[in-house]
Symmetry: C2
Subunit: 864 residues, 2 copies
């Protein structure tokens, strides 16, 4: 650095946050004078926290500056120390610093004047070529108990100082090397994804507390978003990764949950459950920190998340019986399900769970949330298993636990009975698992009025509006298919994928990896890769525009999961056996990952040459490769064939789009009006635009009947046929004027977009002139089929013409979209069991699934 007078100093700083060994921060600062001569004053301070973030966005911390009160500040021997306390929770933190200063530096008066700062000063005289070095060691201690935190912090800082910076740096380097050696992973042929993988695992590893006293913050150590709170995604996303890369951290995280079981019990009591423990949706010290229970406490699935991680940890461990603490945690959480669910006689005794909120917070307070029921099933079954095994393998432990929590003998029996009878319906009409009891009954979200780039929806729409629609922040059902999908058949998962994907807005950073994993499982490699990129590059490319709040820890875990669970196809069988189904996306050359499991270290290398499995550590490991049992002994390796990846097919939700003509692709209404007007004038019947409105979407003969309502005399059938023909003649004359310029704005784009996606196109117009018109408009070859209104049964609002079009294309009506501008047309489409897009005023076309104001804003691609 250059000083104002031009003289120069060379400043070098090295900082490290030790990965193991406590709570220190260490810093080495060297200053060398190049041509400066004079005094040097160093000020080294601890400053009280002043959170700067404050916003209406619930995903950002609300600012904790005012809530952290400075307690003591003092100089204690060689240490400066400050204590602060959180005003509401009573959690206190003490921070201490000590220095190792070179002989050239001498201490000066400490810094105490500012009530939010404590610090120390060092001074030296520098001459050109001269240098000073100072090492600073900081430690903190936090907690709610009345421990002497300040003395703990000073002692820890002192200990770090006596070890010295060099030694700490060496420790750090060794710790990281060991971690990366065991957790080695990478992708060849996709540098951005490879970078994201390493970046994600680094942050996940360094952000996870190892002391068993703290939870993993949603933003890790990277920002103040979510105010440092830990969430359920720790157990569902982060711990499964760490279980395979740093299992000791999983143990620490579970210990933290166990440590906070009392607040979880209090939480359960607050919700009127006389038994059990309910872990909070968001927390620091164990109490529920959400101010809005419908998407806080109502997320009972957090209990299942804890059980999920605990189960994985024990499956991956040495096979010992679970400890009394883990059993307590498992049983106490399992008990809650029995208090919010029951065997419902109206559902043939199936076990139903009421009034919960699933992971998709765009629905709330629902019955039989699919994810919750499936996770509760896993939880109850595992709890019953553990109770049974513990009772026989460690009866004393079991008795002690049972006595401590007053567990009746019949309770584990009831758990298994509930798990076996869990209510897990499939919707008969759509073939999908309903997200909850009422979900499929709700209207679809109108994406057309909601531009896709203004996300998240929660910042723009009232919860009531979100709750009222089929719209998902993240895919609850698909997450269940991924986490506890063993018994779910592939076609079921595929239907779930296809149904929920267009309803999902991915406003949660957890969404992408879930989709990626299921897409890979279903062989949708292109989709899987797209979602993988979206999740993996989330923070590096700031895809959600909120990386400034901090990095998304669970999404970072999702990056690992997308590789290992997704393309690696890893699943854990009920008995703990690893099952892998690796595939190689065509875009990549190779990829590799490492798994720690039951004391073994398994390397998996996937390349065009096949999949190489190396058992690098451990005596033996059995696993499956694409379903075939394999076994490796210590040091052994095996190369197995890689299945061919089927051609990269995007999921397709739509077989055909069936367009109406008038008002959708062109507007011949004016021509019809002119033709009818001419006829009406000739026969002396009053006819005006108001009557004309009633002809919208109605066939020719019915139109004539409407016009003749005001005729002075009845017309018999022959006369009416003649009149209709005459009008058609007039209309035909007018049609001669038509050119492609009469296409409505957006019509060509719409036809082109559908074809481009490989979806078929049909025309279902009530007009007998439809073929002439599309020829004049120059779009005759845009259609795979043009329905003949004369041969397609009853007119709209009957569904006949749309069903005829679908049949002609061999399309499933449930996978067809109809596009209409008239109420009768929308009714026809819906009666045909198709999805309806209305073009016009949403007040009139409210029965359509989606309404757009005009063809120009149709954007048909969004619905395919």
């Amino acid at each position: 650095m250059a000083r104002p007078d031009g003289s120069r100093l060379e400043v070098a700083a090295t900082r490290l946050v030790p990965l193991f060994g406590g709570t220190q921060l260490a810093l080495r600062l060297s200053i060398r004078s190049i041509d400066y001569r004079g005094p040097l004053l160093l000020e080294s301070c601890i400053e009280a926290s002043e959170a700067a973030v404050r916003a209406d966005d619930p995903r950002i911390g609300a600012g904790v500056g005012a809530a952290l009160i400075v307690g003591e500040r003092r100089i204690d021997g060689g240490a400066a120390v400050m204590t602060q306390a959180a005003a509401l929770s009573g959690i206190r933190v003490a921070v201490a610093q000590v220095h190792r200063a070179g002989a050239a530096l001498s201490p000066r008066e400490p810094i105490l004047a500012n009530p939010k700062v404590v610090g120390q000063r060092y001074a030296a005289e520098l001459a050109p070529g001269g240098a000073i070095v100072i090492e600073k060691f900081v430690a903190w201690s936090a907690g709610t108990d009345p421990a002497p935190l300040d003395r703990q912090a000073v002692a820890a800082a002192d200990a770090a100082a006596s070890r010295g910076f060099d030694a700490l740096e060496r420790d750090q380097s060794e710790a990281w090397s060991a971690f990366w050696r065991d957790a080695d992973l990478g992708i060849e042929g996709d540098a951005p994804l490879d970078q994201a993988l390493q970046f994600s695992l680094f942050h996940l590893r360094q952000s996870t507390p190892a002391d068993g006293r703290h939870g993993l913050a949603a933003k890790g150590l990277t920002g103040q978003g979510y105010e440092g709170h830990a969430f359920w995604d720790t157990e569902v996303f982060a711990l499964p990764v760490l279980q395979m890369t740093a299992p000791a951290l999983v143990r620490a995280s579970l210990d933290w949950r166990l440590r906070t079981i009392e607040p979880a019990r209090a939480h359960a009591r607050e919700l009127n459950h006389p038994l059990g423990a309910l872990y909070p949706w968001r927390t620091i010290a164990g109490a529920e920190g959400s101010g809005y229970f419908p998407s806080g406490s109502a997320q009972y699935h957090i209990n299942a998340a804890v059980a999920f991680a605990l189960r994985l940890h024990h499956l991956g461990g040495p096979g010992e019986p679970v400890s009394a603490g883990d059993a307590t945690m498992l049983f106490e959480t399992a008990r809650i399900w029995m208090q919010i669910g029951r065997h419902d006689s109206a559902q043939d005794g199936a076990f139903c769970i009421y009034s919960v909120t699933g992971p998709d917070e765009y629905s709330a307070l629902v019955n039989n949330d699919c994810y919750t029921n499936r996770m509760a099933q896993m939880h109850l079954r595992y709890a019953a298993d553990v109770a049974e095994r513990l009772a026989s393998a460690a009866p004393q432990t079991y008795r002690a636990v049972a006595q401590a929590i007053d567990l009746l003998e019949g309770e584990p029996v009831a758990w298994r009975r509930a798990a076996d009878a869990m209510y897990l319906p499939v919707d008969a009409r759509r073939g999908v698992q309903p997200q909850d009891d009422g979900f499929l009954d709700r209207p679809l979200w109108n994406f057309a009025t909601e531009p896709g780039d203004e996300r998240p929806l929660l910042l723009r729409f009232h919860p009531l509006t979100l709750y009222r629609h089929q719209v998902c922040k993240q895919p609850s059902v698909v997450l269940a298919d991924v986490l506890v999908g063993e018994g779910i058949a592939a076609p079921q998962k595929r239907r779930d994928f296809d149904y929920y994907e267009p309803l999902t807005v991915h406003d949660s950073s957890l969404s992408a990896s879930t989709w990626s994993i299921l897409a890979a499982e279903l062989g949708l490699v292109g989709s899987a890769l797209d979602y993988f990129r979206e999740g993996a590059r989330l923070d590096l490319d700031d895809l959600h525009g909120n990386a400034s709040h901090g990095a998304h820890m669970a999404a970072m875990a999702g990056t690992w999961l997308s590789l290992v669970w997704g393309f690696g196809g890893l699943r854990i069988a009920d008995d703990g056996e690893l099952r892998l189904r690796p595939v190689l996306p065509p875009a990549w050359t190779a990829y590799r990952f490492s798994l720690q499991w039951r004391g073994c270290l398994l390397r998996v290398n996937v390349s065009a040459a096949g999949v190489r499995y190396d058992l690098e550590r451990g005596t033996a490991l059995a696993f499956r490769h694409h379903g075939a049992a394999q076994s490796l002994s210590a040091g052994e390796a095996i190369v197995l064939a890689l299945p061919a990846v089927s051609p990269d097919v995007m999921p397709r939700h739509t077989d055909a789009v069936i367009f109406d003509l008038d008002g959708v692709l062109t507007d011949t209404a004016e021509l019809h009006f002119r033709a009818w007007s001419r006829l009406a004038a000739e026969i002396g019947v009053p006819f005006d635009r108001k009557t004309n409105e009633r002809l919208k979407g109605v066939d020719r003969m019915t139109s004539l009947d409407i016009i003749l309502e005001r005729a002075g005399r009845p017309f018999d059938a022959d006369e009416r046929r003649a009149l209709a023909a005459r009008k058609n003649g007039y209309f035909g004359e007018l049609l001669e004027e038509l050119t492609p310029r009469a296409l409505l704005p957006g019509a060509l784009d719409a036809l082109r977009d559908v074809r481009e996606r490989g979806v078929r196109v049909a025309l279902a117009s009530a007009s007998h002139n439809a073929r002439t018109i599309i020829a004049k408009l120059g779009i005759a070859d845009a259609f795979d089929y043009v329905a003949d209104p004369g041969k397609s049964g009853r007119p709209k609002p009957a569904p006949d013409i749309f069903l005829a079009a679908a049949a002609a294309l061999g399309a499933d009506p449930a996978r067809c979209i109809g596009v209409e501008d008239a109420v009768a047309g929308i009714t026809a489409i819906k009666s045909a069991g198709m999805k309806a897009i209305g073009i016009g005023d949403f007040r009139l076309l409210s029965d359509a699934d989606v309404v757009v104001p005009d063809t120009a804003t149709l954007g048909i691609k969004r619905f395919l």
Copy 2:
């Protein structure tokens, strides 16, 4: 009053709050000395509001003291004036006082020292027999606009002073006399109810603002509960009363709603509705004041309540077309339904309404709330009617309104279509209207664990717990049956009544009158009278223990409604015709009420002699008496026959109660255990209490099979029959010891309680010794039927024995209650389609509808 020195003064004060003519308060104070001689100093002050109430009870105001900021205080000529402003809303209020003091009083220094007080002082010298008189006039002016409120208040106080106390007192007396003359009502033969009627109507009348600028506060002028906010019950409860007793106040209330349409539009926008207006659930100045939207903004039915009152007001008016303002309000509110509902193709195109909360706040965020759908139907239909009539009767007004709110021609058509297609299901199994789509699927509330006197539930239970159960704060469905029940058949209403009554906890003060009215309609005169008393005496007897928060205005209105809609049977036909069906409860001698309608005043006198109708004012009125058309001309009267009241039958929900024996009425388990133990020992089979647990609720042969599982060799059928007989012999020996003292605590009460309610009693025990046992216990004659386990089909958990008992009693299983202590028994009861009460541990008996810990706490009466 006596002074400390023994001298005496006579003090007389008269206060009045003028019913008409502005915002004044007047007070006259006279002081006469009997034997006091000396100076007299009077201090007359305006003190700033210091709300004292502060509690966690949401029904109490949270305290507004700190929120009301004192602005100006000054002496302005002869007036003292103070302004205050509400910190958040910006609403300001100015209060002024002036005095008329007798000559003996002379003014002194004003009172200004205390920053929260302004006032005036007057002094006099008194001698024995001497007297002073002072009149004080207070006026206030409030608003959000920047009007000179202080000057308005001073002018109003001055005007009152110049009129003088005597004149104001005369005005007041005349105003009240006129009101009571027109609104005359009463009951002979029930003084407490008569008192409650007068008391309620007085408070309702005096609390309703007449200026069109304010809403009726939930607690009127009587207390700070609900912080002075107005609610939807104004329109549904208070305005129907005032429409018949003081119609001008209804106009004023509707004007206030119209005045606040802009905040209602803003509220709709906040909920993402681009069109229309959504009136707030609670408000002062028009903005939604609830902080918890699931039971605030989600109560969309408030819009229908406004339409309901508006419709009633126009039906009872002179028959003119509705004004542009009223039409605007009606159309803007109707539009909201089209944005939260749609014709659902899965329900055959029925119009469904999603994600709302009905009046029963113990459910929230539901689909197709019955009350909401029915009220929306009325609203949409009426809005379509008004649009049609206005378009033809006052086309200019209609065009102006349509243009101002951008109303499309098709909208009213769509309203009628939605109303006609409204989704109004009836549950096939129970025959009742479901409160909402999910309501009937939820578990029943466990009243047994919740003592009835600790109300309201909302203070003790988390909303999630309430939402999870079939429990009603107030009866939404029954309220719909009352308000818009014209097209609903009587048996349907009766089923609704019977189903929802035991689910309703009446935590709302609105509940009692609703039940009373429907009970009267259904001929349940005893119930009707019980509920009438409960609602009418609510505040006088402080039945909810919260009269200190203020009187319940809507419940007070409900008192009038219970009389007039209930026993008077008044309903308003769609064309505005009054339809009366008076009955006379046997407990009363006579009752009377007065109805103002279409410019007429109709007196109705009901006594044993018949019903006398007097048309006291108006030229002619057509109405119906018990369905028969009647017509009266000016001054005419008619006496019509009163139908006989059918015998006073309480609604009965239960045909029979079917008891298990062991563990419910007595505990012979110990005797069985001793008998089995003896047998097992004799044949050398291990048998312990753990195995014995499995015999609970299981028949003898199956019990033997369970015991023989651990036998060393198989036993053939003959051997097993012999063993069972042997055990039975041992058991018979032990039975000889049984006496009535072996009855479980509470067993006798339970049997007696059921019989007392006229409900039949059966025994369904798996024990072949049941008859012997009940004889020994001395309860053989407590049963109408004792099922024979040998002739009643398969053992429990099959439902056979319970079905056999029901069949023998001719009871409908759906109207039977089974009481059991074993899981198999509960399963049997539920499989039989009966309600199950479990006795024992709720963790094991969680499938029962209700679980109580033991027979002593059964309290069977609650469930009948």
